[in-house]
Every structure is written in C-alpha cells, then in structure tokens.
Symmetry: C2
Subunit: 138 residues, 2 copies
DNA sequence: GTATTTTTTTGACAAAGTCCATTTCTTGAT
DNA sequence: ATCAAGAAATGGACTTTGTCAAAAAAATAC
C-alpha cells in the first residue's frame, strides 16, 4: 500500500499539501461535491482556493485516481473507489448516494445493441429511487 | 393517436400555445437542451420566456410525457421517446447523443445487486465513447 | 541552491437553472 | 357569452456550479 505521496509521484504529479488533502477528503467522504470537499480540506489545512480544488479533482479524474459521478440535477460527485465496475443508487428525495454492484455481472451493460461505429469506453449507470428513510417519511 | 392538445388534457394540463410548441420542439429535435428548445419555439410562436420553457419541461417530465437526460458536463437534454427502455450513447468529443437499445434485454440493469431497502424506479445508462466522425478526425 | 516547470491564488466571467411578484391566459360554471 | 378562480407565463434578480486568465508561490530536477 503506497502512501498518498507515492501514489501522486507514480502518476508524475508533483506533491502538494492541497493535493494530499483533497485526496484524503475524497477518500474520507465518498460521493462529495466539490464544495463539500473544499470545506473538508479547509478544515484540515486551513485554506484552499476553489480553483485549486477543481484543478486537483480534474487531474485526479484524468489520471484515474478518482471517479466523477454526475447525477441529474445535482453537482458533480467524486469518489476514490476506482477500477472496479460499480454503479450508483441515488435517492430522488434526499440525494443520498450509495455504491451498488450490478446484478448482471462484472461488465454490466457495456455492450450497446448497435454501437453505430462508436468506440465505447465507459458505461455509466445510475439507479434512481427512494431510500428507506424517505419512503417512511411519505 | 391523440392530438397534442388531447394528450395534455388527458394529463389534466391546461393547453397553452407555449406547451404545444415545446412539445413539438422536443419531438422535432430529440436530445435538445432547454436553450435549443427555446430557440425552436421562438421560431415557431415568436416569443416564450425562459422560465416558461423550464416550467413546461419540468411538468412534462413529471407527467412522463418527455424524458430528461443529463450527461456529465453538458446541459440537461430532453426527448419525447418515453416508455421504452432505451439508453444513450454520447460522444465525448462532439457531444452527439444517440439512442441505443440495451444489449441485455428489455430491462437492463434494472436490478441492483443489493438494493439496501431502496425502491428503485429507473436505471439511467449512458455510454461514453467517441463517434465515428471524431474517431476519424484524430 | 538555482532555474524551470507546475501549481496555487485571485478575481472576473459564463452557463444553467431557480425564485418571486405581477400579469395574462384557461378552464369551468353561470 | 361572460365571469370568477385557478393555473401558467412573463420579467428580472439571483444562485449555483464551474471555467478562464494572469500573477504569485511552490515543487522538482539539475
């Protein structure tokens, strides 16, 4: 298990306090928005600019260190669980987001029936529903 | 085949020129943004407020007359193909959006492995890739 | 240590969408 | 037809989320 700093270096990324803190924040609070991550980081290292947060999240996503999720109608979420093929279950009412494994196997829905010449590299699946708590509150 | 006005009435929706025009616009140009729809409608009935477009799109989505699609990094798209279980294929480069049927059958990925007490009502699938044209341009 | 490259900061800006008060239109009943 | 009540549309300000660009600060490689 490499340290966070080693992880960054192995991707040719200069190590900065901001990057380490963002990485920890994403790991500590999965499915957080850029704003929530900024708050967490500020609680840890004092200050960080909004732009730096977006920069870091952007480059981490590119490098595959973290993953973006974009549910309809809410801000982009980030998580550090990458490399496996899992999807997300979002509550329409409270927005709670859960990881779920797909019932159909390891590469669910990765093949469209007619790819129309496209080169497909990812299938993004979001399950929409209502969480137990919000079901009760009805 | 009911007329557009009948369709609205059957959903207890008052019939207005704006609503008819928005419905036609969504039908004529699938996968359009609110802005594109606004333009189309203005070309047809002269003027419509931005708010009215959002109102109409919102209530149509609620009633199931149209469907929202929200690909990461672009505005919400709308289409009038509802009721069947089809998904979308989006080009990362040019943003072109295509309908695709899912290879795994009629209700692909509708069952998550562990639903955690959620009541799931929809599985949203977006395939990401590169369209033939953008592949060539590389 | 120093030079070079990269990152961070700062502040302006843009897109997408929402909120709210007012006016206008639809509908349903007279 | 007309009128009242409720619903929808308008206009304008505002919020949220994210991006752009230039200057300052920090990290890496030598």
């Amino acid at each position: 298990m490499p340290t966070a700093a080693e992880l960054l270096r192995s991707h040719s990324l200069p190590v900065t306090a901001q990057r380490l803190a963002v990485l920890r924040a994403v790991s500590a609070r999965p499915h957080g928005t850029a704003d929530q991550i900024t708050e967490t980081v500020r609680g840890e290292i004092g200050t960080i600019s909004r732009q730096a947060v977006y920069n870091v999240l952007g480059i981490f996503s590119e490098k595959g260190l973290i993953r973006r999720i974009q549910p309809s109608g809410s801000a982009t979420l980030y998580e550090d669980r990458v490399g496996d093929n899992h999807h997300h279950l979002v509550c329409r009412t409270c927005g709670e987001t859960l990881d779920v494994d797909c019932a159909t196997g390891e590469t669910p829905c990765l093949n469209a029936a007619d790819e129309a010449g496209y080169e497909i590299d990812e299938a993004e699946v979001i399950y929409w529903g209502t969480c137990p708590r919000c079901l009760k509150a009805t």
